[in-house]
Point group: C2
Amino acid sequence: MLISSKGRYALRLMIYIAAFGDEAGHKVALREVAAGEDISLKYLEQLVRPLMQAGLLRSVRGKGGGYVLARPAEEIRAGDILRAAEGTTAPVACEGIEGACYRAGLCSTVKFWTGLDEVIERYVDGVTLAELARVPEIDLRLGPSA
Amino acid sequence: MLISSKGRYALRLMIYIAAFGDEAGHKVALREVAAGEDISLKYLEQLVRPLMQAGLLRSVRGKGGGYVLARPAEEIRAGDILRAAEGTTAPVACEGIEGACYRAGLCSTVKFWTGLDEVIERYVDGVTLAELARVPEIDLRLGPSA
DNA sequence: ATATAATCCGACTGATTCACTAGGAATACG
DNA sequence: CGTATTCCTAGTGAATCAGTCGGATTATAT
């Protein structure tokens, strides 16, 4: 699981939709996200596509349209978003499994890398979008420099 | 902490040196590693440089020379190798800390990313080179396809 | 001494990915 | 109809990746 800025932006996008698109199905237009999160509209359009394909978002086209979470925020995990955004979940592709696994140390590295991936997956799947979108008042009271 | 093939090769290189350069200061030449691990000599030369700078390897120049672990394998952590190989430890650079932290959800994402980084660091620093270099007989008995 | 084998050093390269931008088509609301 | 939105495809400059290449330096072995 490697994380580029694509994943970071996708997370911010989803958090925004979770926070401002209320449960009554209030749609969030990308133009609004672009202004609120300071990301270009055109870039957001690209970010949204894999999230749609992954079934995390639903869209309403035309004027007044926008995006809504396809599932409640409690049921969307950060891992779902990151996996969708970062094309392949390619952690550390261990291509050495077939050919060279008899070599010294290679077996142990494969175990090492898969272990690392498990640790990461467990972490990102342990955090829900609802938790990320919930901004406690304490944090709001503290300013940017706090 | 993002891991490219540079980090993977560096780990294999270090494991090889740990496994075949015995404690009596037996030097391992890159030519040997190149043959054993099927990595080009020229590429290995590049990989070795940051590992030297990080103080993980010592070198002996000239004919009959090679590389030795600068510290015992028990005191070298996988994290040390990866941090050295992958230039910057750049995990998820959160540049949003100064300016936009008051925005909705951004504080929580920063916490999320730093948490992820901690999880990764804890994992890679919890594995020593000695553990990776130790190949149990069971694994040796099983063939490549096992 | 000389050939050889190794570490060192810096540049270069083709391919791919990153982080966007651009233009426009389809769709639906007013 | 006009406008605001999602949708689709392409392109692009910069950076990174994964190596290659040529040679300089250093020391051992013969």
